[in-house]
Symmetry: C3
Subunit: 171 residues, 3 copies
């Protein structure tokens, strides 16, 4: 793709769909949450995305502590699923991934063994995927830490802040 | 209340006061912090609220690891106190809770036992309370993780990002 | 300095350089990161700074768990190095530290011993340094938590959100 095409979001949709297929992920349904919060809040050109765990349908696909019962490779797979879920939340809105101007910040929590200190490598799996699908718009500031425990024993959780184009006026 | 009243912030003050009374919480004094930071920074229509622990006057009301010496119910109580403190910081500013347009993001840290994975239920207590007091304006994006340790052995800590109406010009 | 000078950022550069010298820190080189993320993203008047660990050149200067093999004093030193790195990222941009309007939020993660609950004191070292160099513009909202593990066994990691003056138009 040309820089201009990348800037216009050309190909993002196709790359998202191809990546989901490679990962055998089905993310077409609405991503629901329980309780009085939502997966994504949009305000003043920014999309705040809730912490995503590697849930696929009703099960968490990758659980456990990375560096102990869960391998680094599995941790990276978890990070990629979380990233796809975050993108799916953006994608199910009008305008989809083409509205993404820039991923501003990502925070990645890796449920870690006591001596596991390679959280950056887990986070790289998420960062690389954002770049692969969104191009330069996917390059972000990042914080990566080792969590003691995560909801539902998820191996990884991550959240995003994303700058988006203004919504079109309803016609 | 009608949707229009809710949107205008009608009843928020009353619900805050009633909830504080039910919880036997006195939050009328200034919430102070030591050191060179503050409880709330407002900039360009957003209020950044510092991490709140379940402090009541000079003591932390709920300490310990949730899932070990501290029960899930106590964790939920801690989350509610933190939420009330965050709202108290908003409330002590000119215009008070009526200026809240939308809670954009909440991050909830639960000091957890090694096998405690119900952090979402602790966070739900905070989310539910935001909704109960602020209505739809209280529905937010959320990240919920298990912390290893928290300041002063607090059971829960949470922070908020809140969109607020512009301040009135000083007359 | 007068309030007006402080507001205009007078002396920040000098204080940064003097502090770096006192700490024997060399931060003049570009701070690089691996992978598809960056140290700082600027968007719409806000600078999002990636999580900084106390890295000096190719080594992490302060490692280990604070409260166990690493002392509180060493944790504070780690927090100060992280802060200087974050400021160095702002400083290497056109306009440098003079463009800082306000530090809006800081999140401080301290890699903690199981019973270490003085994370606020570690974070104070970072808050105090921001204030010492930036004056009132360095006073921020803050969240301070105890992390289980941090990348490369770092004792502390912190990230910042900073409001900055608009960039000058390129001539």
């Amino acid at each position: 793709m040309t820089t201009r095409e990348a800037a216009a979001g050309v190909g993002r949709e196709e790359r998202f769909v191809a990546t989901a297929a490679e990962m055998f992920l089905s993310l077409d349904g609405e991503i629901r949450v329980g309780g009085h919060y939502v997966g994504l809040v949009e305000h003043d050109g920014l999309a705040y995305i809730s912490g995503q765990i590697p849930r696929v349908h009703d099960a968490v696909a990758v659980t456990g502590r990375v560096g102990a019962e869960t391998s680094l490779a599995e941790g990276c797979r978890a990070a990629r699923i979380c990233t796809m879920r975050a993108l799916a939340l953006l994608r199910q809105r009008p305008g989809g991934l083409a509205r993404v101007r820039r991923v501003l910040r990502m925070t990645v929590y890796t449920q870690s063994a006591p001596d596991f200190v390679r959280q950056s490598e887990v986070a790289d799996a998420a960062s690389d995927l954002l770049h692969a699908i969104l191009g330069d718009a996917g390059v972000h500031a990042r914080t990566s830490v080792g969590a003691f425990t995560l909801p539902k024993n998820a191996a990884v959780e991550l959240d995003l802040l994303v700058a988006v184009e203004p919504e079109e006026c309803p016609s």
